[in-house]
C-alpha cells in the first residue's frame, strides 16, 4: 500500500517539478510548485512526520506561494522572451545539474541501498515529544528564528514601501 502511495506522489512531485522549471509563465510555475510541495508533504507523512507535512502545506502553499503569486501579479511580468545564456548555457547547466544529482544519488545509493524501515507506531509519530523538544532544548534557536522573521518582515516592509522619487506609500 505505502509503496503505491510513494510511487504516486513521487512521480507527481517529479513531473510538477519539471513543469516548475520548464514553463515560461511564472504563474504556471507557481501553481506546479504547489503540486510539488503537496506531494512532498504527503511523503513527509509517509516518512512519519505528519506535523511537518501539515506545516509544509500551511506555510509553503498557504503563505509563501501565495506571496509569490501576489508579487508576480503585482509586477505583471509575462513570459520570458528567450532563455538566458542561449543553448550553450542550457546544455552546460543540464550536464552540471545532472552530474551533481547523479553523484549525490550514487552516494545515497551506495550508502543506504536495501535499508528498509518498518511502519511507525503511533508513539513514534506523537506530537508531544516534538513540541517538548522544540520548546526546551531548541528554545533559544526557536526565539532567534522568531526575531529573524520579525527582522525579515521589517526589511521587506522597508524595501517594498520605499518609493524614492515620490516618497509615497508602496505603489508601482
Amino acid at each position: 500500500m505505502s509503496l503505491a502511495v510513494f510511487a504516486v506522489f513521487a512521480s507527481l512531485a517529479t513531473i510538477s517539478a519539471l513543469v516548475v522549471v520548464l514553463h515560461r509563465n511564472p504563474v504556471y510555475s507557481v501553481m506546479s510548485l504547489v503540486v510539488t510541495l503537496v506531494s512532498v508533504a504527503a511523503l513527509f507523512v509517509l516518512l512519519g512526520a505528519p506535523f511537518l507535512g501539515a506545516l509544509q502545506i500551511l506555510v509553503y502553499t498557504g503563505a509563501i506561494l501565495v506571496l509569490f503569486l501576489f508579487v508576480i501579479m503585482l509586477l505583471n511580468v509575462g513570459r520570458e522572451d528567450t532563455d538566458s545564456g542561449g543553448g550553450g548555457q542550457r546544455v552546460v547547466a543540464l550536464i552540471a545539474a545532472a552530474l551533481f544529482g547523479g553523484l549525490i544519488a550514487l552516494l545515497f545509493w551506495a550508502r543506504y541501498q536495501g535499508l528498509r524501515v518498518p511502519t511507525l507506531t503511533p508513539e513514534a509519530v506523537a506530537l508531544r515529544p516534538l513540541a517538548r523538544e522544540l520548546l526546551s532544548t531548541y528554545l533559544l534557536p526557536f526565539e532567534i528564528v522568531g526575531v529573524l522573521l520579525l527582522a525579515a518582515v521589517i526589511a521587506a516592509t522597508v524595501l517594498a514601501a520605499k518609493n524614492p522619487p515620490s516618497g509615497g506609500a508602496s505603489s508601482s
Binding site: 545564456g85 548555457q89 552546460v92 551533481f100
Partner: protein, 677 residues
C-alpha cells in the same frame, strides 16, 4: 639688634622703589614719583645708619651676617646673604648718604626733564645694586651688584638717548667694562675650583689657614693668589677706570651731572677699590700683584692729572680728576695701606660728589654750557655754589684740616714705606691735583665773565633743593677727615683706622708691612705734601688768578706747544685704541665678511648649489625613465591582465551561478573520489 635685622631692607628698598617707579611710569603725578624716589633711599639711609651704629656699638669687631635664603644648593651652595663688617659699614654709609643727597639734588636738577620717572627708576636701581655689591657676603652677590651697577651706568650714561653721543658713550662704557668683568669671572671660577665656595669668610679662612698653599705656582707662572688677584684686579681696572681701561669714564660725562657725581665719581667707580680691599687677604699673599696695583694706581694718578690740565670742559676736568684720585686709592691699596685707601674712598666720595654737583649747579646756571672758557666771575652770581665748590677744591688739594689732606697723607705715608718712587709720583700728583683744581676754580668763578650776554642775564643761584645737598656735602668734605687723623707719636686718635683694623689685619708672614715711621718723618712727609699742594695752588694763581683770564694758560700753551697738543688730545689714547682695537675689530669683521661672502657664500653655498642642481638633474632622468618606466610597466601589465579577465565578468548572474554549480560539482566529485574511490 632690631636695626641689624632690618639690614636686608637696605638694598631692597631702592630696588623696590625702582620697580615701583618703573611700573607707575609717567602717568602718575611728579610729587608721587619724587616721594617714591626719595623715600626709598631715604629709608635705606636711615636703616643703614641705625644698623651701622648698632653694629659698631655691639657686634664689632666680629662681622654680622644675615642669611636670607639659599640661592644654590648642592656641590656649590651659595646663600643670598648680607655681611656687615667695618668695611661694608663704611661703604654702606658712604653710598646711602651720598646717594641720598644726590637723589635730593636730582629732584631739582632733573625737575624739567621729561624722563623724570625713568631717571629715578634707574637711579634707585643703581642704589640697590650698589648696596648689594657692598653688602653681599660672598663673591657672587657682589658680582650681581657689580653687573647691576654696570647696567645702571650704561643706562644712565645713555640717558639722553635722543642725542648721538650719549648712547655711544654708554656702549663704550659697557664694552670696556666687559673686559674687566670677564677677568673678574675667571677669578671667581678659580676660587670656586680651589675652595668650592664663594663665601668671603670661608675663602679667607681657608687662605689664612694655609698661606703657603696659595703661594705655590698655579698658572702662567703665577701663584694661586697671584692669579686670582690679577684677575680680580683686571676687573677692578675696568670698573674703576684705571690704565689702560680708563677711556670710558671721561665719555661717561655724557650722562646727567648728578649721575656723574653718584656713579662715576662717588660710588660705582670705587667698587674696584672696595673689591681689592675686600680681598686684601689674597693681595697680601700676592706681592707681585700688589706691586702691580700700586704701580698702575700711581701711573694712572699722574697720567690722568696731566690730562686734566688741558681740559676746558668742567666735567672732563672732574672726570680725569676722578681717574687720578682712583689711581691714588689703588696706590694705597697696592702698598698695603688698605684702610687709607678706603678712607680716601670715603673722603673722595664727599668732595668729588660735591665738585660734580657744584659743576652741575654751574652748568644749570649757565644754561647748559660746560666750557670753562666761557665762564668766569660766577662767584657773585652763585655764592653758595662757589663757597661749597671752593671747600671741595681745597679739600681735594690736600690742605689741612680738610678731608683730602688726611686720607691722601696716609696713602703717601704708605707709599713712602713701600717704595720712594711711588711716593714721589704721588707727591707730584698731589701738586698737580691742587694746581688743576684751582685752575678750574679760578676759570669758573674768578675773573671776568666770558660768556654771552644772554647767558649772563639768566645767571641764577640754584634752588634750595640743590644747594642743600651741596652744603651737607661741604660739611662732610670739611670734617670727614677728622675721624681718621693719623697716629702722631703717642697721640692716637685714628678712629677710622682702628675701626677698619679687623678687616685689613695682616695675614701670615705678610705681617711685616706694619711699618711705622717716626714722628719726625711723619711730620716731614706731611709738610712736604702740603708744600706741594700750596705750590700747585700758587702756580694756578700765577697763571689764572686775578684778571688774567685765559691769557696765562694760552701763554703756557704757546711756550710748550707739543706738550699742550698731547695733553689736549689726552695722549691720543682714544685714537690709539681706535687705530688698534677698534680698527682691528673692524678689519677683522670685514675680513670675516669677505670670507663669508667669498668662501662660504661663493664657494660652499653656491658650489653646493651647483652640485645639488647636477645631482637633481641626474636623479630627474633616473626618475623619468627608470622609476616611471617601472611604474608604467606595472600599469601596462595590469591593463593587459584586466583586458583578459574582464571578459569573464559578463554581468550575467546565471553564468555566475553556473560557475558556482560547476565548482560545487567538482568539490562533490573530489569528495566522492577521496572517500569512496
Amino acid at each position: 639688634m632690631r636695626a641689624l635685622d632690618l639690614l636686608w631692607l637696605v638694598p631692597l628698598l631702592p630696588l623696590a622703589g625702582s620697580a615701583l617707579n618703573a611700573l607707575l611710569g609717567p602717568r602718575v603725578a611728579r610729587p608721587l614719583t619724587t616721594a617714591v624716589a626719595l623715600g626709598a633711599p631715604g629709608l635705606s639711609l636711615a636703616i643703614s645708619l641705625m644698623a651701622v651704629w648698632t653694629y659698631a656699638t655691639t657686634v664689632f669687631p666680629l662681622p654680622f651676617e644675615q642669611v636670607l635664603y639659599a640661592w644654590t644648593t648642592g656641590e656649590l651652595s651659595i646663600d643670598v646673604a648680607f655681611l656687615l663688617d667695618p668695611l661694608s659699614s663704611v661703604m654702606v654709609v658712604v653710598v646711602t648718604l651720598v646717594g641720598f643727597l644726590i637723589h635730593v639734588y636730582s629732584v631739582g636738577y632733573m625737575g624739567d626733564d621729561s624722563g623724570y620717572q625713568r631717571y629715578f627708576s634707574y637711579l634707585n636701581l643703581f642704589m640697590g645694586a650698589m648696596l648689594l655689591l657692598v653688602l653681599g657676603n660672598n663673591f657672587l652677590v657682589m658680582f650681581v651688584g657689580w653687573e647691576g651697577v654696570g647696567l645702571c651706568s650704561y643706562l644712565l650714561i645713555g640717558y639722553y638717548y635722543e642725542e648721538e653721543f650719549p648712547p655711544y658713550a654708554g656702549r663704550k662704557a659697557f664694552i670696556v667694562n666687559r673686559i674687566g668683568d670677564f677677568a673678574f669671572l675667571v677669578g671667581l671660577f678659580a676660587l670656586v675650583a680651589r675652595f668650592g665656595t664663594l663665601d668671603y669668610g670661608e675663602v679667607f679662612a681657608a687662605v689664612a689657614s694655609d698661606p703657603h698653599g696659595v703661594e705655590e705656582p698655579y698658572l702662567l707662572g703665577l701663584s694661586f693668589a697671584g692669579f686670582v688677584t690679577l684677575c680680580l684686579f683686571i676687573g677692578a681696572i675696568g670698573k674703576s677706570a684705571q690704565l689702560p681701561l680708563y677711556v670710558w669714564l671721561p665719555d661717561a660725562m655724557a650722562g646727567p651731572t648728578p649721575v656723574s657725581a653718584l656713579i662715576h665719581a662717588a660710588t660705582m667707580v670705587t667698587a674696584g677699590v672696595y673689591m681689592v680691599v675686600r680681598t686684601n687677604v689674597l693681595y697680601q699673599l700676592a706681592p707681585g700683584t700688589s706691586a702691580l696695583v700700586a704701580t698702575v694706581g700711581a701711573v694712572t694718578a699722574l697720567f690722568a692729572a696731566t690730562i686734566a690740565f688741558a681740559q676746558t670742559d668742567i666735567k672732563k676736568v672732574l672726570a680725569y680728576s676722578t681717574v687720578s684720585q682712583l689711581g691714588y686709592m689703588f696706590l694705597g691699596a697696592g702698598v698695603g695701606a688698605y684702610s687709607a685707601a678706603i678712607f680716601h674712598l670715603g673722603t673722595h666720595a664727599f668732595f668729588k660728589a660735591l665738585l660734580f654737583l657744584g659743576s652741575g649747579s654751574v652748568i644749570h646756571a649757565m644754561s647748559g654750557e660746560q666750557d670753562m672758557r666761557r665762564m668766569g666771575g660766577l662767584k657773585k652770581a652763585l655764592p653758595v655754589t662757589f663757597a661749597t665748590f671752593a671747600i671741595a677744591t681745597v679739600a681735594i688739594s690736600g690742605i689741612p684740616p680738610l678731608a683730602g689732606f688726611f686720607s691722601k697723607d696716609q696713602i703717601l705715608a704708605g707709599a713712602w714705606g713701600e717704595h720712594k718712587v711711588l711716593w714721589a709720583i704721588g707727591l707730584v700728583t698731589a701738586g698737580l691735583t691742587a694746581c688743576y683744581m684751582f685752575r678750574a676754580l679760578l676759570m669758573t668763578f674768578y675773573g671776568r665773565f666770558r660768556g654771552t650776554d644772554e647767558v649772563r642775564s639768566h645767571l641764577h643761584e640754584s634752588p634750595t633743593v640743590m644747594t642743600l645737598p651741596l652744603v651737607v656735602l661741604a660739611v662732610g668734605s670739611a670734617l670727614a677727615g677728622l675721624i681718621g687723623i693719623p697716629k702722631l707719636g703717642t697721640l692716637d686718635i685714628n678712629w677710622f683706622g682702628h675701626f677698619l683694623a679687623p678687616v685689613v689685619a695682616p695675614v701670615g708672614h705678610a705681617g711685616e708691612h706694619g711699618h711705622h715711621a717716626s714722628l719726625g718723618l711723619e711730620l716731614l712727609l706731611m709738610g712736604v705734601s702740603v708744600a706741594a699742594a700750596v705750590g700747585g695752588i700758587w702756580m694756578a694763581w700765577r697763571t689764572y688768578g686775578g684778571e688774567r683770564g685765559l691769557a696765562g694758560g694760552e701763554a703756557w700753551a704757546i711756550r710748550f706747544p707739543t706738550a699742550h697738543r698731547i695733553l689736549t688730545n689726552k695722549y691720543y689714547v682714544d685714537e690709539i685704541y681706535d687705530a688698534t682695537v677698534i680698527k682691528g675689530t673692524w678689519s677683522a669683521a670685514r675680513g670675516l665678511f669677505r670670507f663669508d661672502a667669498g668662501f662660504i657664500d661663493g664657494f660652499l653655498v653656491n658650489g653646493s648649489r651647483h652640485v645639488t642642481v647636477a645631482v637633481s638633474l641626474l636623479s630627474g632622468f633616473f626618475d623619468k625613465y627608470v622609476i616611471d618606466g617601472v611604474v608604467n610597466l606595472s600599469g601596462w601589465v595590469m591593463r593587459a591582465c584586466s583586458r583578459l579577465f574582464r571578459s569573464l565578468q559578463t554581468g550575467l548572474v546565471s553564468q555566475y551561478a553556473l560557475v558556482v554549480a560547476v565548482g560545487m560539482l567538482v568539490l562533490t566529485g573530489f569528495y566522492l573520489v577521496v572517500r569512496l574511490g
